[in-house]
C-alpha cells in the first residue's frame, strides 16, 4: 500500500530513540571523564576513549558494602531465580487451572487473580514477618521467594494453555501421555515462545527490584547492584561520579543481553509455531 517511506513516523520514532538514549549516553560519556570535572558540572558529551578502562576498574569498585562485580552477580542470580521460579510455579498452577476439574477450582483461580490487586508494597510488612519467622532474613531464599509467586504470569499461562486445541490434548491422551508427560512433552514446547517472552519480562522485573532486597538484606554480601548504586550516591564523602556512571552502564548490560538472547528465541518460536 505504502510506496514511499513514512517520513513523519520515522522522525517521531527517531526522536523517541534519542530521548531514551540521551541519559544513557550521558552516563557512558561521563564514565570516561574525571570525577572532579563532573562534580564541577562540566560534563562533556564526547567520551574520552582513552579512558574506557574505567569499566573494568568499576567492577572492583567498592564504595558500598561489596564490590560491584559481586553485587552484579547477586542481582543476576536473584533475577534468574525470580524469573525461573515464577515461570515454573505459574506454569504449573495455570496447568492445574486450565486442564483439571477439581473442587474449588474457580475459587483458586479468583484468589490468584485477586492478589494481582495487591502490589508488593502493600503486603510487605506481613511478608517480612513471615520471612523473619522462617529465619530467612539475610538469606538468598528470603531475597527471592516472596517475589516468585506471580498472578500475572499465572493468568498469562492460563490464557496460553486454554488456547491449545482440545484435539491436541486428546491426541496425547490416545498416545498414552499422562498429565505430566503432556505438560512436559507438549504443553511447554508449544508455549516456548511465550515462555521466552515471559522470561525476559520477569528477569528485568527481578533485576530492578529495590524495596524488598533493601528490607530483607542487612549484610553487604547480599546487596544487589540497584541497592549498591543508591548507596554509592548517598554517602557524604566526595562521590566518584565517573565510577558510579560506569557502574550504571554495567548494571544495564545483563538485562540487555537477556533481551537480545531471548529475542532470537521467541521470534523463532513465533514463526514456526502453528496452532
Amino acid at each position: 500500500m505504502k510506496k514511499r517511506p513514512d517520513f513523519l513516523a520515522h522522525a517521531v520514532l527517531l526522536l523517541g530513540v534519542l530521548l531514551f538514549m540521551f541519559p544513557i549516553w550521558v552516563a557512558f560519556a561521563g564514565a570516561t571523564q574525571s570525577a572532579a570535572a563532573i562534580n564541577r558540572g562540566a560534563i562533556s558529551l564526547v567520551p574520552e576513549f582513552r579512558k574506557l578502562g574505567v569499566f573494568v576498574q568499576a567492577l572492583s569498585f567498592s564504595n558500598a558494602n561489596a564490590p560491584v562485580w559481586h553485587m552484579l552477580l547477586v542481582s543476576f542470580f536473584m533475577a534468574l531465580a525470580i524469573a525461573i521460579g515464577k515461570i515454573v510455579i505459574s506454569a504449573l498452577s495455570a496447568f492445574a487451572i486450565a486442564f483439571f476439574r477439581f473442587p474449588l477450582r474457580m475459587v483458586a483461580f479468583w484468589l490468584i487473580f485477586i492478589t494481582l490487586m495487591l502490589p508488593i508494597v502493600v503486603r510487605i510488612v506481613p511478608t517480612y514477618a513471615v520471612m523473619s519467622d522462617l529465619h530467612l532474613i539475610d538469606t538468598f531464599p528470603g531475597l527471592t521467594l516472596p517475589l516468585i509467586a506471580s498472578a500475572t504470569a499465572t493468568l498469562l499461562f492460563r490464557q496460553i494453555f486454554i488456547a491449545v486445541p482440545d484435539e491436541l490434548v486428546e491426541a496425547a491422551k490416545l498416545d498414552g501421555a499422562g498429565p505430566m508427560r503432556f505438560f512436559w512433552d507438549v504443553l511447554l514446547p508449544v508455549s516456548r515462545a511465550n515462555i521466552a517472552a515471559l522470561f525476559v519480562i520477569e528477569f528485568v522485573y527481578g533485576w530492578n527490584q529495590y524495596l524488598w532486597p533493601l528490607l530483607v538484606t542487612t549484610k553487604g554480601g547480599l546487596n544487589t547492584i540497584v541497592i549498591g548504586i543508591v548507596q554509592m550516591i548517598t554517602g557524604d564523602q566526595l562521590i566518584p561520579w565517573n565510577l558510579v556512571m560506569a557502574t550504571t552502564i554495567l548494571a544495564l548490560l545483563p538485562p540487555i543481553l537477556v533481551v537480545l538472547a531471548m529475542q532470537r528465541w521467541f521470534v523463532a518460536g513465533l514463526t514456526e509455531a502453528d496452532k
Partner: protein, 357 residues
C-alpha cells in the same frame, strides 16, 4: 483382526441427550461410516469409543472384551482427528513415533514401523519436517501415519477429509479406502458428506439427532431408505417428496397436486384415505411432453455438463426437482409422470418407510 460391538451406547451432557442408545456390531475388517448433519452426535460417538468421554449408559466391546472403562491409551484404538492434532513442535517422525515411544518400544522397532508407514504414505522424504512446513494433504497423511504405526485393532476417523480441497479429497478418500482394505483394520469413519459415506462404507449408519435412523449397505440405504430423513439425506440431488393419500383400495395414491398415480406391486399399501408421503428421486422422473399427468413449472435450470437439474414446483406449490440429460427441454411448463417402480412410500405421520407385506 477385531470386531467392535456397541450395546445401547448413550451419552448425555447434563440434561441434553446427545446419543440415545446405539446398537451396532462391526465385523472384522469392516468399515462402518457414520453419516449425519453437524451436531447430531457423530464426534461424540467416536470419542466414546476412543475413551475420551465416558458413556452415560451402554457398553463397548472390542473383540468381545468390555473396554467401556479402559484407559484410552490401552484400548488399542487409533484416531485420526479432523484438524489432525499433530504436535506442532515435533518432526513428522517424532509425531508418528511419540505414542510408540511412550509405550516403551525399542528404538529400532519404532524406526522400522515409522519408516514402513512413511513409505506406505509417501512421507519418507518429509520425516524431518515440522507440521508447519507441510501442506494440508501431507499433514493429513501424517495423521494417518500416526494411527497406522500403532497397529491398532480399530481405526477411528473424525471427518479426516473436511479440511482438504475438493480434488484432493477425492484422491485421499480412495487412498484411505485402499489402505484400510489392505491393512484390514476394523474402522469407524465419521463424516457429514454423503458422497464420502457412500464410497467408503461397507455399511452406512445414517444418524439423526443421536439416533441411528438406518444401518445398512450404501446401496440398500439408497434403494430402500428406512425413513423420510434418510431418503432426503442420501442421494444428490436429494429425493422429491409429495403429499398424497391412498386411494383405489390402497393400490394408488392421490397427490395433493392433483392426479392419481399407480403404486408398485400387487398388494394394497394400506387403508384408503391414509396420509402418505410419496418420494421419487429427481433422476427417475419422466418427462412426457403433452401427455404426462402431472404439471411442473420450471423456475430454474442448472446445467451440470452432461445433465441438467430443473428446479420448479408442482401445481399445488410443492418444490420439485428433475434431473434430465443435457440439453434440457426449453419450456417453462412441462408435464411429467412418476413411474411406479421408482416410488418410495413413507407414512406421513411417522416418516417411516412403508412396505407391502
Amino acid at each position: 483382526m477385531a470386531t467392535l460391538e456397541l450395546q445401547g451406547l448413550a451419552k448425555s451432557f447434563g440434561n441434553t441427550k446427545v446419543l440415545h442408545g446405539l446398537d451396532v456390531k462391526l465385523d472384522d475388517g469392516e468399515m462402518l461410516v457414520i453419516v449425519g448433519g453437524s451436531g447430531c452426535g457423530k464426534s461424540t460417538l467416536l470419542r466414546l469409543v476412543a475413551g475420551l468421554e465416558s458413556p452415560t449408559a451402554g457398553r463397548i466391546l472390542l473383540d468381545g472384551k468390555d473396554i467401556t472403562h479402559v484407559d484410552p491409551s490401552k484400548r488399542d484404538v487409533a484416531m485420526v482427528f479432523q484438524n489432525y492434532a499433530l504436535y506442532p513442535h515435533m518432526s513428522v517422525f517424532e509425531n508418528m513415533a511419540y505414542g510408540l515411544k511412550l509405550k516403551g518400544m525399542p528404538k529400532a522397532e519404532i524406526a522400522k514401523r515409522v519408516e514402513e508407514a512413511a513409505d506406505t504414505l509417501s512421507l519418507s522424504a518429509l520425516l524431518g519436517r515440522k507440521p508447519g512446513q507441510l501442506s494440508g494433504g501431507q499433514r493429513q497423511r501424517v495423521a494417518m501415519g500416526r494411527a497406522i504405526v500403532r497397529e491398532p485393532k480399530l481405526f477411528l476417523f473424525d471427518e479426516p477429509l473436511s479440511n482438504l480441497d475438493a480434488k484432493l479429497r477425492v484422491q485421499v478418500r480412495a487412498d484411505i479406502r485402499k489402505l484400510q482394505k489392505r491393512l484390514n483394520v476394523t474402522s469407524l469413519y465419521v463424516t457429514h458428506d454423503q458422497v464420502e459415506a457412500m464410497t467408503l462404507a461397507d455399511r452406512l449408519a445414517v444418524m439423526e439427532q443421536g439416533v441411528a435412523a438406518q444401518i445398512a449397505t450404501p446401496l440398500e440405504v439408497f434403494a430402500r431408505p428406512a425413513d423420510q430423513f434418510v431418503a432426503g439425506f442420501i442421494g444428490d440431488p436429494s429425493m422429491n417428496f409429495c403429499k398424497a393419500v391412498l386411494c383405489a383400495g390402497g393400490h394408488g395414491a392421490k397427490l395433493a397436486a392433483g392426479p392419481e398415480v399407480a403404486l408398485p406391486g400387487e398388494a394394497s399399501w394400506g387403508p384408503e384415505g391414509m396420509a402418505v408421503m410419496l418420494g421419487i428421486r429427481p433422476q427417475h422422473v419422466v418427462i412426457e411432453p403433452g401427455t404426462g399427468p402431472l404439471g411442473f413449472a420450471v423456475a430454474l435450470e442448472e446445467p451440470l455438463g452432461s445433465e441438467a437439474l430443473l428446479h420448479g414446483t408442482l401445481p399445488d406449490g410443492e418444490a420439485f426437482r428433475i434431473r434430465v440429460p443435457y440439453p434440457a427441454p426449453q419450456a417453462t411448463a412441462l408435464t411429467i409422470s412418476l413411474p411406479a417402480a421408482h416410488l418410495h412410500l413413507f407414512d406421513a405421520q411417522t416418516g417411516k418407510r412403508l412396505e407391502i407385506a
